[in-house]
Symmetry: C2
């Protein structure tokens, strides 16, 4: 390791130790203090708007010089409206019921021991993310709401914006009497910092959350020496059952695919029940086409409605684009088999008016979110009422689906006795 590397290592190690101190302060802070900090963060973001937008302009300029354009540049860009949205999002987290200290179970044993399971913070959470500068604010707010210290490492293309927002976050912490160590931001674009975080900063990180593209998440899951909460991809299906209401099927499918094509809850594959595909597929295909969507179908679909031929790769492709794969399957069992084989365990929907078919689909499909008669685009912490989310977890342990403040907690058992000894 050269001098710069050694110096970065020292900086990052210190950040880990500080975060542990920040976590201790948060563990002892009252819900009111944490609420006050979050509100003050939102206010500071509003007050610092000029500085944040100026920093964002510097990022945008550098990004343009690096050849960034189109949607990538758009994701990075802040304006007054978007920044107001960022501040509003933070303020909304202040209103989420505080998850800490809640007893999720309590019972008394025959020997009189009173056992309570109580929500507690996880400790120190590192969030590694790309692009959108609002993540800096969202992650800070959700971590404070859940009593966790945060180490934030955003994308290098967004460094100035992130640091400007982080400065406002720190003002909010200080306004509530919390130390700046509660939310720290990595102040360098040096990628070596990511490796150091993944190595765990001397056991000072309890959880790592990657939020970004597939390659980022895959790297974090492969290299991390601390637990990871991440989602790899959202390969969501909408299955139109033979007993579907045709109008609902059209409305739901078009919304699930086309409302926003770039989010993880967007439907990528349409499955249509063979028992009624002749009748159900054409109006859906027409509506998708009219909305600007390209269709790629299997043989059975193409026999019903003209479209491009799908290849095997289409069943596993998270397009994030106005393209949909279409397959005809045999009933709920056929749909569930397709989803089990190709899905990512994120979000899948059945459209049907037959309650028995709906329940069978719910039982068979092992995904974080299973929907009946509603668009897969509802796969979102805000839409679930969580106030905000830090991502959608597709792993099966700890948290699954939208990760909000409650999902960033753990618990301890508090056992109150009167002198019991074990026989």
């Amino acid at each position: 390791m050269d001098d710069t590397g050694a110096s970065l290592q020292a900086t990052m190690s210190a950040m880990g130790r500080e975060a542990r101190e920040g976590a201790k302060a948060l563990r002892l802070a009252t819900p009111e203090t944490r609420t006050k900090a979050i509100r003050a963060m939102a206010e500071a973001i509003r007050a610092d708007a000029a500085a944040i937008l100026a920093a964002n302009a510097r990022d945008i300029e550098a990004a343009k010089a690096n050849g960034l354009s189109g949607p990538m540049l758009d994701r990075l860009m802040l304006d007054e409206g978007r920044l107001k949205g960022v501040a509003d999002g933070v303020a909304a987290v202040a209103d989420i019921p505080d998850p800490l200290g809640v007893e999720t179970a309590r019972w008394t044993r025959p020997n009189g021991l009173d056992i309570a399971r109580v929500r507690t913070p996880i400790g120190v959470i590192a969030i590694i993310y790309e692009s959108r500068p609002n993540v800096t604010a969202d992650a800070a707010a959700l971590c404070i709401r859940s009593g966790n210290a945060a180490i934030l490492r955003g994308g290098s293309e967004c460094l100035q914006s992130n640091l400007a927002i982080h400065a406002a976050v720190v003002k909010g912490l200080e306004a509530a009497g919390l130390p700046a160590s509660c939310v720290q931001a990595v102040r360098t674009a040096d990628r070596a910092a990511v490796g150091m975080i993944l190595a765990g900063l001397d056991h000072n990180i309890d959880l790592i959350i990657p939020r970004g593209g597939k390659s980022l998440v895959a790297r974090v899951q492969a290299e991390a020496r601390a637990p990871v909460l991440g989602h790899l991809e959202g390969l969501c299906h909408t299955f139109v059952h033979s007993a579907a209401d045709p109008q609902k099927a059209v409305a739901i499918t078009v919304n699930a695919k086309m409302r926003r094509v770039s989010i993880c809850g967007a439907t990528e594959t349409l499955l249509v029940d063979s028992a009624a595909a002749d009748k159900l597929l054409p109006p859906i295909a027409e509506a998708l086409k009219a909305a600007g969507c390209e269709l790629r179908g299997d043989e059975a679909s193409r026999a019903i409605y003209p479209m491009e031929a799908a290849t095997e790769a289409d069943w596993t492709c998270e397009y994030l684009a106005p393209i949909i794969a279409v397959a005809v399957v045999d009933g709920v069992e056929g749909a569930a088999a397709h989803i089990a084989r190709y899905g990512s365990g994120h979000t899948d929907c059945i459209v049907t008016e037959d309650p028995a078919a709906a329940e069978r689909f719910i039982a068979l499909v092992d995904s974080a979110i299973v929907l009946v008669n509603a668009s897969t685009q509802f796969a979102d912490g805000g839409e679930f009422g969580f106030g905000a989310e830090i991502g959608i977890a597709t792993d099966k342990l700890h948290a699954r689906g939208p990760v909000g403040a409650e999902q960033l907690t753990t618990f301890k058992y508090v056992v109150r006795g009167t002198g019991q000894t074990r026989p």
Copy 2:
């Protein structure tokens, strides 16, 4: 890889694929079917007692030939009484409330979406364990109760006993109409099988649970390519606060240390409040000594009661033996600081009659189980009312503390709509 290695790999890969099928069968099985299977397992263990004891005798003979003796040999040994205990333990799991399908939350959104969080199985769980053959039966019963397929890999010194118990488990599954793929046992002592399980059997393992010594758990945590639920060690503390009832302090400390010294919930370090150590330590030390316990103290303890000098290593040693480390600390803050520095986040106790001190201790100590006025030896799934446990988790994600059937589940969100699309 030589021929044998390739053949083992093929066997293990097939086991992974079969387990996935078993998991599917369990996902669709009713609670009654799973209960029936568990009861039939217990009956088959009772009916097969002669065969199981004969197999155990072969393991014992081989172990003696390999020089095993004392407690190690004792852990391995089954007799009629112990085997009855194994069958009773399995039968007890049949009586645990079924965790699956339980709605842990349900709410309706303003747009009418009805969102339920429902407990579901994790999928395929691999359990890698040492010694005690009862783990074969306990793990099988808990996995069936929680709807998970199991892959069991016990210690080679116990292979014959495990396979004989496993044969009874399979009889139980079949009696309930469940396929044998629901619980499979590795039939070789070849350690390469462990490596293959840790590699994840082609993504056919959703969770790995190591149950055994520190080196086994450390290896699993370092090498596993699937999520791991493990506990590294139980370095438990009993803190006697200045407001402790002296008699309770004596009874609790002696029980916490000496009831059974070899379990993870045994207290390893006694912390005594400096404000009353003069008065409180001597009777506790006398009672421990009378019970056959060696004491190793810091300077302040030794100034109050004669004992060996503790070194730094004593604060981090999980003795699992009749030895206790003793330190004098300054109040709740001092105790919490010692526990934060040296503890393992497993189980820690305060003895006090002062409720404010108890609450402060509960807030400050970040362990899976925090006890007030009760022995640390209560850290046990059975004592918590979980019916049985597969271990005590000290990680902070997913499950913490005793891991019973409920802790072996995940959940999915079931969202029922009436045609909602997202604006």
